[in-house]
């Protein structure tokens, strides 16, 4: 199960990068609301990816 969570973290990083790319692309297409939405989704993906792997302050 831990291995699956590692894999999910990598996929979330990929998803975050894709969301950011689509967000910048949407900005070029004058879809500002979609751009803001995708940038937020990208940030949430990266946050979830790092939180899955980050130990608590006392665990390290």
């Amino acid at each position: 199960m831990a291995r699956a969570l590692d894999l999910i973290s990598v996929l979330l990083v990929l998803a975050g990068g894709v969301a950011f790319s689509r967000g910048v692309h949407a900005l070029g297409e004058r879809k500002d609301l979609v751009a803001v939405y995708l940038l937020i989704v990208g940030a949430l993906c990266l946050k979830a990816a790092t939180d899955l792997l980050r130990p608590k302050a006392g665990d390290a």
Binding site: M1, L5, L14, L27, Y37, V41, L44, T50, L53
Partner: protein
């Protein structure tokens, strides 16, 4: 003995001066010169002055209040610089900027970040060991194949927004697109580095249930965001 103490104090003073010099240069190049233009609003000039005050305050407080100094030097200064740029409005359009001056100012801000990211040079460094909050640094370990994949994926997808930003041809949004793409790239590289350093270290991490629960709020927010998007698509 007195000479040694004076020499140590001089070194500390120079270290603190060198910490604020890059930020001061970035401020001169990218904040002061734009607000001196004719037509700059009162609020942009006020924010620029506040940024300078935050930088000077961080220098003054560095010895007695290191945490407050850090808050002023990093967050206060950068927040006020952003405020200045926001209040400048149309004066900050890409066709009105000096590219060379902007690039040199960006180098100044990069050095500012590196200077504040460096470890404190105080001789009583052990007492300030928790100056930068966060978990303790992990010892090195042999990276797994998944770690290399995570880093490779991160670098590859971090480059994509920066390439796509060149496709934004609106003058009012092109600079914003490049700034956003740069920020996104930094975030993705940072996250992929974090992930690649930690994957495959299950024995040093809490159980999978604890790990999953730690990521509960970003996952919940993601589900809410996807739900909103689905509702919006259904109503269109």
């Amino acid at each position: 003995m007195t000479g040694a103490i004076q020499e140590q104090r001089r070194r500390l003073f120079l270290a603190e001066v060198s910490r604020i010099v890059p930020g001061l240069y970035g401020w001169l190049a990218t904040v002061l010169l734009p607000v001196l233009q004719r037509g700059a609003s009162f609020w942009s000039r006020a924010a620029a002055l506040l940024a300078l005050a935050a930088l000077i305050g961080s220098f003054v407080l560095s010895a007695r209040r290191p945490r407050a100094s850090r808050l002023l030097g990093v967050y206060g200064f950068v927040f006020c610089c952003f405020g200045t740029w926001a209040f400048l409005g149309a004066l900050l359009r890409s066709d009105q900027l000096d590219a060379v001056r902007g690039a040199l100012g960006a180098v100044g801000f990069l050095l500012h970040a590196l200077a504040w990211g460096a470890a404190p040079r105080d001789p009583d460094a052990e007492a300030l060991d928790n100056l930068v909050p966060g978990v303790a640094l992990q010892p090195r370990h042999k990276p797994t194949r998944l770690a290399a994949v995570a880093l490779g994926v991160g670098i590859a997808v971090a480059l994509a927004p920066m390439a796509l930003a060149f496709g934004v041809d609106r003058p009012s949004a092109s600079l914003l697109a490049h700034a956003l793409a740069l920020g996104c790239g930094v975030l993705v590289i940072g996250a992929s580095t974090d992930v690649s350093l930690r994957v495959g270290k299950a024995h040093q991490l809490p159980a999978w249930r604890a790990r999953a629960s730690r990521a509960l709020w970003p996952f919940s927010a993601l589900i809410v965001a996807v739900g909103i998007a689905l509702i919006w698509l259904a109503l269109r």
